[in-house]
Every structure is written in structure tokens, then in C-alpha cells.
Assembly symmetry: C2
Amino acid sequence: MADQDRRVRRTRRALHEALIALVLERGYDRLTVQDVLDRADVGRSTFYAHYRDKEALLTAVFDDMRAQLQGEVDARAPDDPLDPARPAELLFEHAHRNQRVYRALCGRRGGEVVLRHLHGMTRELLLGPLRTRRPDLPVEVVAEFHASATVGLLRWWIDQDFPHDPAWLAAIHRALAFPGPAGPSDRL
Amino acid sequence: MADQDRRVRRTRRALHEALIALVLERGYDRLTVQDVLDRADVGRSTFYAHYRDKEALLTAVFDDMRAQLQGEVDARAPDDPLDPARPAELLFEHAHRNQRVYRALCGRRGGEVVLRHLHGMTRELLLGPLRTRRPDLPVEVVAEFHASATVGLLRWWIDQDFPHDPAWLAAIHRALAFPGPAGPSDRL
DNA sequence: TCCAATCCTGAACACAGTGTTCGGTTGCGG
DNA sequence: CCGCAACCGAACACTGTGTTCAGGATTGGA
């Protein structure tokens, strides 16, 4: 199996790491495939044997992050499946624990593609809990609203270098997105 | 003065129009400068005499829209400067009256750059009215939240081909962003 | 230990798109 | 009608992309 060959693992890992480092230094769109190759010390043809292009590599890095987050959500969220602010809270915590990657992927210097994926992911994450919260409004629109707001908040936090706690951001998010005496932590 | 030469006006107008048309057909990033040139029937060197690159042209088109919107906001908003939902309402109305341009600039096929500008513009538009609304939370964060949510809603509306009214969208926006018995039109 | 399969290398290549230059032409405004 | 400014378009150098292929290196399993 392809996965078990150490060379493949090494190559992929090196490319991922090089991409992240270079995005943090120069920003995604100022990057050349050749730049990544030089940094990762990988041959040109090898790269194209693994990824279709620069964007595919970025997506692969994002998918790693996505899978990890999804795992945590699946593990920690189902005990409280109806709180619509919970997914965002988990997202903020996950970002806080993986600042480097989030800065590269979702920060100012990251690519637009990742933002689209992140937005879509967040929308799906929120769609369930939101269905019950606002039965009077069309769910798609509500999900769109909250996904945009949540990702916007996250981006702001990242670009400000993660000030305060994840809990701080989550409290603000809850106060803005779901005001009222509902939540247990509605004050700062 | 440069502005008064008919040739300049004609060239700029043709380039703007060609860009919009082509974005609607193929999407911004699938476009070549040469494509725009062919469609506008303008020489290559002429283009670079007017704009630094493809992105500068896009920005110029956006600035036209921005100026028009700003004019309307200045004309119609100051009578109600404290309602934080009013700027978004005006934005939705303006988009509805300029569907073609908004689809090209801010829709799915538009460029990422415009989105950043639109986001910034919206944030500035909201910063004033929001300052009084939520004195307990940091203004920047609140503005970020609402700018993201508003632009997200607008993009959704555009990509769905402007279903319903501007008023419909504004009502949803108000209900989600500023709930409570405050606004005059809080129901659908 | 060996070996066949698989991966990696690196240079060469064709290609697409960019942004600039410049001599010559056209159209504008005064 | 004239002088100036804008436009043209072809040519050019340049950057980056994605592919190909023959030869060398590593791997996992027998």
C-alpha cells in the first residue's frame, strides 16, 4: 500500500511542512511550486507525482486539519448536540492549539481556497444545531449567516495573533450570535 | 484634463464592461488579460497604460460601485445614523438595483480581492452605529462579526440569484443580527 | 541477504501568460 | 488646422507551469 512506504510519508510530510513555513513567511499567492520544492528538498517531478498543483497541496494540508478537528468534534460534541454555539467553541479551541497551521491556512496570508472550504465546513457543522434554534427563518440563510460570522471572528482572532483565551472569544461569539439568557456563560 | 478625452472614457468603459461580461461567463480567475483585451477591442499596450494589471482593473470597477453606494448611504442614511441595521439594508437595496455588477464582483465567480475590500468597507460602515449598540464588548470584534455576517448574507443572496426582496433579506438580517423588540420590522 | 517493485531525481522541453518597449497611426480639443 | 495625447500591435524577455524519461536509490517482503 502506498501509505506504508516511508519515502512517501517523508516526501508528503516535507512538502506540507515547507508549504506552511513558506506561507507564514511570504503568503500563499507569492509562492512558487519551485519555492516549496527547494524548501522541502524534493524533486520537481516528485511533487507532481503526489499533487496536481500548488492548490492541491494546500487542500491536502487543510484536509489534515479538517480531519483532526472533525475527530475532536465527534468525540466531544455529541454530549451536547443542541447547543448551536458549541461547534464554534470547539473550533476556537482547536485553532488555539494549532496556531501555526491555522495562521498559515486561515490567516491573512493563507489562500482563498481554504477559506471557502472552512466556510463550507463550518456551515455544515452549524446546520444541525441551528435547525431547532430558529424554526421561523429559512435554515440555509441562518446557517450562512452564522458560518460567515464565526469564520470572520476566527480570522480576526488569528490575524491579531490569538489574543486572550479561546473561552474569551467563545463568550463574545455566544453573546453576539445567540444573545439572551440562554447560555451558561453569557457574560465576560 | 485626462478625464475629458473621449478616447480615455471609451477605453476605460470598454474594459470595465468587458471584464464584467467575462467574469459572468467564465469567472475572474479563469480570465486572461488578453481575453479582456479581445472582448473590449483594446490594444495590449493601451491596457497597461491604464491599469497595472488585471487586479487593478477589477479594483477600479469595484471603486465605481463603492462610490455610488457611498453616495447613496451619505444621502439616505444620516437621517437615521444610529440604527446599526440600516447600512446593511441600503447595501442590499443597492445590490438589488445593480445585480449584474454585484454578481460579477461579489458573487461566486468574482475575485477574492473584491471580497476583502467589500468586507473592509462594510466594517467601516458598521463601526459607527455599532459603537453605541454594544458598549460592553470590544468594538473591533463586534464590527468584524457583523461585517462578516452581512457580507456572507449578501453573497448567499447573490449566488442564489436574488430571491425575494431586499426588504426580505433585510428583515432576516435584522432578526439575526439585532434580535429583540427594538426594530420596527422585526417580523417577516 | 537479495530482489523486484516502487519511489525519487534532475534536466530538458513545450507552453501559456505577463508586462514592457517603441515606431507609427489616429483622434481629440483648442 | 495643428499639436499633443492616446491608441495600436508586434516583438521581446521573462517567469512559472506541468510533463516526460532514463537512471539511480530505497523499501518491504521473501
